[in-house]
């Protein structure tokens, strides 16, 4: 494996991004960009055609998003490893991507060195995560493995919101639209609307802005 060059496929709907990564990676003697794709659907096809070692996968793409594309690529028994790239280290994306079978997750602001190393690492079969991602993963994980989980907190407090509703409330308090939340949680927008409505009724609020205010006042979310 370490003999030949690492063959990479870049999947991103933005030309600038593809160009940048392409130049960057081709500058490495052991890495070669063998193809590009402008959406998830095309990425899946290209993987079949080109059998690359690594796929640099953007999440937000038309046709078929990076998560779904990753799922399909992994489902097919290709040897290709998927390294997901995104601008923001959104939790949901990370978990979804990794659960979809991605080998790694990096932020787009990674340096050339980090990117190249990342490609090599996943090509070698390891898993790679951005530090901020891992940190949250660990902290979250230790929360559920540690016994000090007394009841309440996410439950009885805020007017009997269900877990899912609380989850949605937090997203509202981050300024996401219904469509964005739907994409984030991978459900239909109508589902989100249902959750939002129930939240407003249960909390006795009028609109999502009041919900956001409530979330801050109730310390469900806190200023950075």
């Amino acid at each position: 494996m370490s003999i030949g060059t690492i063959r990479v496929l870049i999947a991103d709907d933005q030309m600038m991004v593809r160009e940048g990564f392409s130049v960057l990676l081709n500058a490495m003697p052991d890495i070669e960009v063998v193809g590009e794709a402008v959406n998830g659907r095309q990425a899946v096809e290209r993987v079949r055609e080109l059998a690359p070692d690594v796929v640099l996968m953007d999440i937000r793409m038309p046709e078929l998003n990076g998560i779904e594309a990753t799922r399909e690529i992994v489902a097919a028994d290709t040897t290709a490893k998927v390294l997901v790239l995104t601008t923001f280290d959104l939790d949901e994306y990370v978990y979804q991507a990794l659960r979809a079978g991605a080998s790694g997750f990096l932020l787009k602001d990674a340096s050339a060195r980090q990117l190249a190393d990342g490609v090599r690492v996943v090509a070698a079969g390891e898993a790679l995560l951005a530090p901020s991602v891992t940190r949250r993963l660990i902290t979250e994980f230790s929360k559920l493995s540690d016994p000090p989980r007394l009841m309440s907190t996410a439950h009885a407090a805020y007017g009997d919101l269900t877990d899912r509703e609380t989850e949605v409330l937090v997203l509202i308090a981050q300024g996401l639209s219904n469509a964005e939340m739907a994409e984030r949680l991978v459900v239909a927008e109508s589902t989100i609307k249902t959750h939002v409505s129930r939240i407003l009724v249960k909390l006795g609020l009028r609109d999502r802005t009041q919900a956001a205010v409530f979330a801050y006042e109730a310390r469900l979310v806190t200023p950075k």
Copy 2:
């Protein structure tokens, strides 16, 4: 990033292992083994003395095991990243190591290439996990829902807002509708709409909910 060579400390009670890794890593032009330790206690000391970039840490060691040693090294605010190495990918070890603050976790049967890449990756600040480990971590973790985090965009300072606009922004962050604000400020609703629009444009936001979030994040308003 890593302009100079990456300085590595090897902590393992077995001489053969230390030797092997040492030769292996020193063969890399950008990596230099600057010291060794035969137990956890010594590893902690050596880190203080040598300030290495990366510590290759075995788990089973006399005096102070790798987990505890990692905890101490991370507790001290050294810049050293800990890459834990072990023969078996035992769950307890993995979780404990990661919670102790390790940056990565690799199996000892990793190839020279994998090891070297691993060192480079953690030195660059990323986190590295063997794939089997990541998978378990994800599955374990995904059993529980989570409170995501997002906050994008570097906006211009809200100092660009006029007094009146700031006033309106505060009201938005109190959950008032345009009609209510109009009544409160004794102006027409259309006037409020104009203010709201300008606020959104100036701050690069999409809707009033994001404006409310912004107000809280910018401490323009603070939770009760």
